[in-house]
Every structure is written in C-alpha cells, then in structure tokens.
C-alpha cells in the first residue's frame, strides 16, 4: 500500500456504481498517491474503465446510472462525485486519454491548444508556448514542429495518441487518466507511450487502465487488480506481481483466467 509518507492526491471511498440495476463497482476503496503511476488491471467487464470514468465525471453524459460513495480530490478534500460540484471544473483538473486515438479533425496546433481555448486563452504567444511545452513533454515536438498547421489525421496512429496525450497535458492537469492507451497501437508505438508515461509521473499523478499485465508491471508504481466490480487487491506493483496476497490475483496474473 502507499505509505503514509506520500501525499495522497485522490481517494476513492466506498464507491458503488450501478448501470440500471447492474452493480458495476462494489465498495471500491483506493488511494492515489501524488506523482505516481497507478495501474488497474483485470479481465474485461471488471469495472476498471467504469472506475476510471468516475474520476472525470464522464458518466454524466449518459443516463440510467447511479452511485454511492465518494472520490475525494486533495488538497481541498472535495468530493468530485458530488452533484453540487461542477463536472466541467473536475475535467479541467483531471484530464483523460482514450483507448482509441481521437484527435479532432483540426490542425495539430488546434488540437493541443483546444483545452486552453475553452479556458479563454486567446493570446497566440501564450498558446504557442503551452502547445510547444505539451508537445515536447509528449515527445512529439520534433516530429511535428514544422507542420503544426497540418491536419492531425495525417499523423500515424502512435503520433495521434501522443498528440492526444499532449492535448490532455496542455491544460496542466493534476491527474491524467489513461484508458487502455496502447490497445490500438503497434509494439513500437506502445513502447514510446510507455516511456512517456514513466516520464510524465514527474509532473502529474497517473491512473492507467490496461489489459496488458506486462505493461502494468513495466510502468506502474502501484497496481490494483479488479474482478467483478471489486478491487480485489491493491499494492506495490512488485508485490502484486511476485507475491500477491489473494489467490484470485495470483490466478489472474499467472494466466489461469482472464
């Protein structure tokens, strides 16, 4: 478990989540330490993406769901799942990278600048500076610096995903959520994204959902194993992979099911 010495960026408390009558999350408790990478692994339909999408209130766009419990965001200690909290404010602090690269059909520059534009930044020099910084951190700057005005869909899949990461970073988020960010990419592009995630944790807290257990092992400080809506086990990545406490975790990691 994260030690008491670390700053806790966010904390999930007794979270239950329902799609209609189906209970998708069952009493999840989880602490997200600051500037670490946390992986969530587990078989399809275990609730890991549902949990991830709670963090930036993505469920708000769909009907027929409900929840009990809290996600506390520090340092203020606000419950971001509270109906009184504006989801837009939550998304300004917690951004997300999706499973499939989803750049806007706009220029490379406008894609990264979009999060700033919705905040009312219009000064070209400020936009340019922030876009360059975000693209540099996303390891894309050198590849695209001469063609910022070209359409983003002309980039390769891996480049598109790094562009989406730049878009998520340009707004200086406190937490970045990754929903299986490499599942649509080839191994080389995947390796680059993984390197990138390891670099990013110097700046932000990262919560990443992945199907790929090796990936979780390579990049994360802490790993949570989810099964049927429950967080079965959560702890240091090394411990989870070498010496899990739960039989279920061991079975999943050694490939007995999943």
């Amino acid at each position: 478990m994260p030690t008491e010495l670390e700053n806790i960026k966010a904390e999930v408390k007794d979270l239950n989540f329902y799609y209609g009558d189906v209970k998708a999350l069952k009493g999840v408790n989880l602490k997200i330490p600051e500037k670490k990478v946390i992986s969530l692994i587990g078989p399809s339909g275990c609730g890991k993406t549902t949990l991830l999408r709670c963090f930036n209130r993505m469920h708000d766009f769909y009907t027929n769901h409900s929840h009990t419990g809290e996600i506390i965001l520090n340092p203020e200690g606000v419950n971001i799942l509270d109906r009184k909290i504006d989801p837009i404010e939550v998304r300004m602090r917690i951004s997300m990278v999706f499973q499939k690269p989803n750049p806007f059909p706009k220029t490379i520059f406008e894609n990264v600048a979009y999060g700033l534009r919705v905040r009312g930044v219009t000064k070209r020099s400020v936009l340019l500076e922030r876009v360059e910084k975000a693209l540099t951190v996303s390891a894309l700057w050198n590849e695209v610096k001469d063609r910022l005005d070209q359409q983003a869909f002309n980039l390769s899949g891996g480049q598109q995903q790094r562009l989406c990461i730049a878009r998520a970073l340009a707004i200086d988020p406190e937490i970045v959520l990754f929903d299986e960010p490499t599942s649509a990419l080839d191994p080389i592009a995947t390796a680059r994204i993984e390197e990138l995630v390891s670099e990013l944790k110097k700046e932000v807290s990262i919560l990443i959902v992945t199907h790929n257990m090796q990936q979780a092992g390579r990049i994360s400080d802490y790993t949570g194993f989810m099964y049927m809506g429950e967080l079965v086990e959560f702890g240091d990545t090394d411990k989870i992979f070498t010496n899990p406490k739960e039989k279920l975790t061991e079975d999943y990691i050694s490939g007995h099911f999943g």
Partner: protein
C-alpha cells in the same frame, strides 16, 4: 457427383438472374433518364429562342413579345432570401436542440415523430394555414414576408432532419475528447459539432431551398399576384439608416406563378414565354444543387476521424 452437377446448374440459374436484373435495372434507369431529357429538351426547344436580355428585364405585358420575368425572378429571389432568413436559424437551432439538449423521453420522441410527419404534409395545407395565420391574424398581408415564412415552415422539417442526421455522424469519441479537457456543451457545439456537420447541414439547406423555389400552390393560396408590373421597394435607401425593410411587406410574384399564368392563356406565344421562364427556373435549381455538391465535397475532404 450428383451434388456437383446440381450445384453447377444452380450456379448457372443464379448467374442468369444476376445478368437479368442488371439489365433490368439499366433499362429502368435509361427510361427515367429519357423522360428527364425529353422534358428538358422540350423546354429548351420551345423556350430557348425566347431567352434574351429583354425577357429578363421586362415586366409582364398584354403582348407576349414584350413580356418578361423581371418581377418574377426578383420576387423568387426575395422570397428565397426571406425563406432562408426564417428557416435556417430556426431549423438548425431546432436540430441542434433536439440532438444535443433535448432529454430522451416520450415527449421528445413525439415531437421528433411529428417533425418527420410535417415533411410529408401537402404544401397547399401550409398555404391554407398561412392564409389564416400570417395574412389575416398577423395582418402581414399578401407580402414577401408572408411567402417567406410560409415556405420557411414548409422546408423547416427538411432542415431539422438533415441537421440532426449530420450531427449524428459525429462519433461519440470526438465529443468525449472535447468534454474531457473541460469544454462546456456550448463550446463543444461551437468548436466541434457545428463545424464538423456544416457540410451536411448546408447541403440540407440548399436541397430545402431548391424545393421551396419551385413551390406554387401555397403561394397562390396566400394570394400572390399573378400579374405584377412593379418591383418591391429597394432594400437600400438614401437616408439613414440606408436600409429599409419595406420590400418585405410588398406584394410579389414568383417564377412558377408567372409560368402558371402564361400557360393558362390561350395564345401560343405566351406558352413560349412559359417555357423560357421554366428554363430559367431549372437553371436556378440545377445551380443550387451543383453548389450543394461542391460544398459537400469541400467539407468532406476536411473531415476525417
């Protein structure tokens, strides 16, 4: 062995049907094309000789050779402008509201169903409604604004439906990407939904306009004049504020009504005039359709997910 021969025989039959239907389809297509060409050919052979500057710049007259379509094409143009001013904001806003804001419940479904039904209501019904509501209740008279609003209502369902269809083609992951960086609904509509669906929406608007330009029945119902020898007031005036809305309240005629008027006369020369006016109307419509296609291709090239 038996199975194999059966199989070959069946294949032969299938192939014969295949070829048969291919040529049957081609035959019907050619029939339709011939009918269309004959129609246009007839108009051209009858009316083309009558087209001249005099024809475009003269008012109708008792004498066929002195008649022209000046008041008709100016009227058509003014009515189209009014229709567009009325129908585009209403139609696009309704489409965006229904697709983006409306709660998904039974009332919304009921409204959607009725909008689709409205598209199938005969145009003369719109004319009757407009006569009662715009001409008498709202005292707008038999004016360009009445005509514009009538035709606007008539094509409103087309614009609403095409707007919604265009918006529906935008993938969910693009919307989510916008919301995920903290955009509001309005920002998402302004920066993504409208720009990406603009091609489809504009195409729908133009299709709607090319339907409106040929409408006759509702305009006759509201009392458009069939013989008119003056133009609506100029929209520009010499004193401040230099623009005037007087033209909206002037009487008018439109191309199809002028044609109808000429066709119903016994003299052969007026029929020639009608054919020439018909040619102008077809050129109008074809131009609009061509513009729609160009705009659609322009936007398609720019949008890729």
């Amino acid at each position: 062995m038996e199975l194999k021969t059966n199989y070959k025989r069946q294949l032969l039959i299938n192939k014969i049907f295949d070829v048969f239907f291919k040529y049957l389809g081609l035959f019907f297509l050619i029939c339709a094309l011939i009918a269309l060409l004959a129609l246009i050919g007839n108009l051209v052979s009858e009316g083309f000789g009558r087209l001249s500057f005099q024809f475009l710049s003269s008012f109708p007259s008792r004498f066929a050779d002195k008649s022209g379509i000046l008041s008709a094409w100016v009227g058509s143009f003014a009515v189209m402008l009014m229709t567009a001013l009325f129908a585009i904001p209403l139609g696009v806003a309704s489409g965006v509201y229904l697709e983006e804001y409306a709660p998904k419940n039974k009332i919304t479904t009921f409204i959607e169903l009725n909008i689709t039904n409205l598209a199938g209501v005969p145009s003369i019904i719109f004319g009757l409604m407009a006569l009662g509501l715009f001409v008498y209740k709202m005292s707008l008279g038999q004016s360009i604004i009445t005509a514009g609003m009538t035709l606007g209502l008539l094509v409103l369902p087309v614009i609403i439906v095409t707007t919604r269809e265009a918006i529906k083609t935008i993938p969910v992951h693009i919307r989510e990407a916008s919301y995920a960086v903290g955009a509001t609904k309005l920002q998402t509509i302004r920066y993504h939904i409208l720009p990406y669906s603009a091609g489809g929406i504009i195409t729908g608007i133009i299709i709607a306009m090319s339907r409106a330009i040929g409408e006759t029945a509702p305009l006759i119902t509201i009392g458009a004049l069939t013989f008119i020898a003056f133009l609506p007031a100029s929209p520009f005036i010499s004193q401040a504020p230099f623009v005037s809305t007087q033209w909206m309240f002037d009487p008018f005629t439109v191309l199809p009504i002028q044609m109808f008027n000429w066709v119903s006369r016994p003299q052969e020369d007026f029929h020639t005039n009608a054919a020439a006016a018909g040619l102008i109307l077809i050129v109008f419509t074809l131009t609009l359709t061509a513009v729609a296609i160009i705009i659609r291709n322009y936007f398609r090239k720019r949008i890729k997910w």
